[in-house]
C-alpha cells in the first residue's frame, strides 16, 4: 500500500509567529522524501500537521485524492517513528508491537504471527520479551520502526529518528531504512536537521527555512545546483565569492572580486545579472585545486595562504586566506607532492563551470 500526499497552502500560526507559511508540496507515492532544515525552521510542524497532531491554521492535506485535514491522527493510518522513540515503557517489545494490532481487533494468533514476522524484519527475533529500558538505543529505534510499520500504514513518518544514535550505528540504520523502503515501497517522510543523513538517504530533499520551502529536488541536483546562499551553506560546505559583474552573455558571466577577474559559466538557478550588478557565486571546496606555482592555463585563479589544515582521513580540509576573502578547500590526503602546511603560499584555481550563481537570501 502506497499513497501520495499533497500539502495545499499549509499555514500554522502560533500567536503572531508563523511556524509554517503557505507551504505547498507534492509527495509522490512510494517516495523517500526528507524535510531538511535547521531547528525552528518549521519542518517538524509540517510533519506534525501531516500526522494530525497539529491542526493547520489554513490549508488542506490531501492523501491520494482524499482530504484528511479534519481526520484525527488515529484515523489517518500513518505510522510514525518519534524523536526519542516513544516506546511504551510498561509494555514489552512484543506488546508494543501488538498494540496497534489489538486496537484493530486482530485475532490473537494472527497478532503473534505478525509480531514475530516484524521482529525478524528488524533483526530482533530474540527480544520480544524485553522491556524498552532494557534495550540499547539502536534496538529501541528498530522496535519503534517495527511498531510503526506493523499495521501496514499508508505512509511512514520519521521525526529526527536517528539523531540520538552514535555515528556508526546511525550509518548502519540508515542503510537498513533505505533497504526497508525499497522492499516495502511505502511512502516515507523523514524529518532531520542532519544534511549528510538527508543526502545519503532520500529520493528527494525538501529544504525548509523560516516556515517556507526554500528549494526541493533530488540530493545530487540540490548539492550541485543550490539556488540560494542558505541552501549552498546548509547542504555541505561552500565558498562564497561576492563580486561585481563586468560582462554577461547568457550563462557566461565575467565578474571581479578582490581585484581579480573571474569567470562563471554553465547553468545556474541564480538571478539574471547585468554588468555593474553585485553577484554571489558559490563554489564547493572539492572543486578547488591547490598548486605551489601559478597555474597559467586556469580560468579562475587566486594566490592564497594556508591558515589551517585539518586531517579528515581520506581528505585534508584546508582553510585559506585569499584576496577574495577566507576560502576552504578539500584535497585528497594521498595526493602526490608535499602535504599542505600552515603558512604555505599557494595558488587556488577552478573551472568556470565549477561554480554557481546564487540568490543572496542572507
Amino acid at each position: 500500500m502506497s499513497e501520495s500526499i499533497r500539502l495545499d497552502h499549509l499555514t500554522k500560526r502560533y500567536g503572531g509567529h508563523l511556524a509554517t507559511d503557505d507551504v505547498s508540496l507534492e509527495i509522490p507515492a512510494g517516495r523517500f522524501v526528507t524535510l531538511l532544515g535547521p531547528s525552528g525552521s518549521g519542518k517538524t510542524t509540517l510533519l506534525m500537521m501531516i500526522a494530525g497532531f497539529v491542526r493547520p491554521t489554513t490549508g488542506r492535506i490531501v492523501v491520494s485524492g482524499r482530504d484528511i485535514t479534519d481526520d484525527p491522527p488515529e484515523r489517518r493510518e500513518f505510522g510514525m517513528v518519534f524523536q526519542g522513540y516513544a516506546l511504551f515503557p510498561h509494555l514489552t517489545v512484543a506488546e508494543n508491537l501488538a498494540f496497534p494490532l489489538k486496537l484493530r481487533k486482530m485475532p490473537r494468533a494472527r497478532i503473534e504471527q505478525e509480531v514475530r514476522r516484524m521482529l525478524d524484519t528488524v533483526h530482533l527475533p530474540q527480544l520480544g520479551g524485553r522491556y524498552p529500558r532494557e534495550l540499547s538505543g539502536g534496538q529501541q529505534q528498530r522496535v519503534a520502526l517495527a511498531r510503526a510499520l506493523i499495521f501496514n500504514p499508508k505512509v511512514l513518518l520519521l521525526d529526527e529518528s536517528l539523531s540520538a544514535l552514535d555515528k556508526n550505528l546511525r550509518a548502519g540504520l540508515q542503510e537498513e531504512l533505505r533497504d526497508l523502503h525499497a522492499r516495502l515501497g511505502t511512502t516515507f517522510v523523514f524529518v532531520t536537521h542532519d544534511q549528510e543523513e538527508a543526502l545519503s538517504m532520500s529520493d528527494e530533499i525538501v529544504i525548509v527555512n523560516h516556515g517556507r520551502i526554500v528549494q526541493s529536488g533530488a540530493p545530487r541536483a540540490l548539492y550541485d545546483r543550490p539556488r540560494t546562499r542558505f541552501v549552498a551553506d546548509f547542504l555541505g560546505r561552500a565558498n562564497f565569492v561576492e563580486g561585481i559583474v563586468t560582462a554577461s552573455a547568457g550563462t557566461a558571466i565575467s565578474y571581479e572580486a578582490g581585484g581579480i577577474p573571474l569567470r562563471q559559466a554553465g547553468p545556474s538557478d541564480g538571478p539574471p545579472v547585468r554588468p555593474g550588478d553585485a553577484i554571489l557565486v558559490g563554489l564547493r571546496p572539492e572543486k578547488l585545486r591547490l598548486a605551489r606555482d601559478e597555474p597559467g592555463g586556469a580560468t579562475n585563479r587566486t594566490p592564497a595562504e594556508i591558515a589551517l589544515v585539518t586531517f579528515e582521513g581520506a581528505d585534508h580540509h584546508v582553510r585559506l586566506t585569499t584576496p577574495l576573502g577566507p576560502m576552504q578547500a578539500v584535497v585528497p590526503s594521498d595526493a602526490a607532492g608535499p602535504q599542505p602546511t600552515r603558512g604555505d603560499k599557494v595558488w587556488l584555481s577552478w573551472d568556470a563551470d565549477a561554480s554557481v550563481v546564487l540568490h543572496d537570501d542572507r
Binding site: 497532531f53 524523536q83 515503557p89
Partner: protein, 270 residues
C-alpha cells in the same frame, strides 16, 4: 568524598546519630511499657504480662475501631487516588498557567491547618446530615489525601514523554484509549505511592475525626485519643507497639522489593 572526614563532618555525624537516638528512643520504651503487669502506665518490674494485649482482643471497641479506620481509610484513599490522578494527568498534558493554578488549588487541603477545615466540614456536614457517618468522614479524609496523590502522580509523570500519547494515537488509539492504555499505566507507580500517603494520612487522622464523629464512626486514632485522655490506659502502649511493628514491617517489605527491582534492572543488559 575523597578527602578524609574532617572534624566538622564528624561533629555533624555525631549530631545526626544523637538525633536518631532522640527520634527512636520514645518508641523503644513503648514495648516494655506494653508488657507491664500493672493497670497503670509503668515499666515492668521484673515480671512481664500480656494482659494489655489481651484487652485489645477482648475489648470489642478496639477491634471495631480498627475496622472503622480500615473502612474510612480504604474509601477515602480510593477517592483521593481518583481525584488526585485526574488532576495530575490533566496538568501534565495541558501544562498552562491555568492548569498550574488549578493544581495549586488542589494542593490547598495540604496547606490549610486541620482545625480550620475541621470547622468548615463540621458546619456543612451538619446541614447535610453527614455528621458521624462513614460517608462524611470518607469525603473529608479524601479531600485531605488528594494533594498527596497529586504530588506523587505529578512526580511519576514528570519523566513521561508527552509523545507517548501521540505514539498511541498514531497507532490507532482514540484520546480516551491512549489515556487508559498508555498514560495511566505510566502513572501507576505514582498512584501507588500516593495511595500509601493517602491511606496513612486517613489512618492517622484525628482532628477532623474529632469534629465529625461521635459514636457511630469510631476510628483507631479516636480510640487511642480517648485511651490517652482516660488516665492513660496501658492498652494504648500495646496498640502503639503493634503499630510500630506494622510500620517497620511495611518499610522492610518496601526495601526488599526495591532491592529486588534494582537487582533485576542491573541484571538485564542495557
Amino acid at each position: 568524598m575523597d578527602l578524609a572526614p574532617s572534624r566538622p563532618f564528624r561533629v555533624t555525624v555525631f549530631v545526626a546519630w544523637m538525633a536518631i537516638l532522640f527520634l527512636t528512643l520514645p518508641f523503644a520504651v513503648v514495648l516494655p511499657v506494653s508488657l507491664t503487669p500493672q493497670r497503670y502506665l509503668s515499666l515492668p518490674d521484673g515480671e512481664l504480662s500480656l494482659r494489655h494485649y489481651q484487652t485489645l482482643l477482648e475489648d470489642r471497641t478496639w477491634i471495631l475501631s480498627l475496622r472503622d479506620s480500615a473502612v474510612v481509610a480504604a474509601g477515602s484513599t480510593l477517592l483521593s487516588v481518583v481525584l488526585g490522578t485526574m488532576t495530575a494527568l490533566a496538568c501534565w498534558r495541558i501544562s498552562s498557567r491555568l492548569s498550574e493554578g488549578v493544581r495549586m488549588i488542589m494542593l490547598a487541603p495540604m496547606m490549610v491547618p486541620s482545625i480550620v477545615h475541621a470547622l468548615g466540614f463540621y458546619r456543612v456536614w451538619a446541614q447535610f446530615g453527614l455528621l458521624d457517618t462513614y460517608l462524611g468522614l470518607i469525603l473529608a479524609h479524601a479531600m485531605k489525601g488528594t494533594p498527596y496523590v497529586v504530588i506523587s502522580v505529578s512526580a511519576a509523570l514528570a519523566n513521561v514523554d508527552l509523545r507517548l500519547e501521540q505514539a498511541a494515537r498514531s497507532l490507532g488509539a482514540t484520546a480516551p484509549q491512549a489515556l487508559w492504555k498508555v498514560i495511566i499505566p505510566a502513572a501507576r507507580p505514582g498512584m501507588l505511592a500516593g495511595s500509601v500517603f493517602a491511606f496513612a494520612l486517613s489512618w492517622d487522622e484525628l482532628v477532623v475525626t474529632l469534629f465529625l464523629t461521635s459514636r457511630n464512626v469510631y476510628t483507631l486514632p479516636r480510640k487511642i485519643w480517648d485511651g490517652i485522655q482516660d488516665n492513660i490506659n496501658p492498652a494504648v502502649a500495646a496498640v502503639a507497639t503493634l503499630l510500630i511493628a506494622l510500620t517497620i514491617a511495611a518499610m522492610l517489605v518496601r526495601i526488599v522489593i526495591a532491592r529486588r527491582q534494582a537487582r533485576l534492572a542491573a541484571a538485564s543488559p542495557s
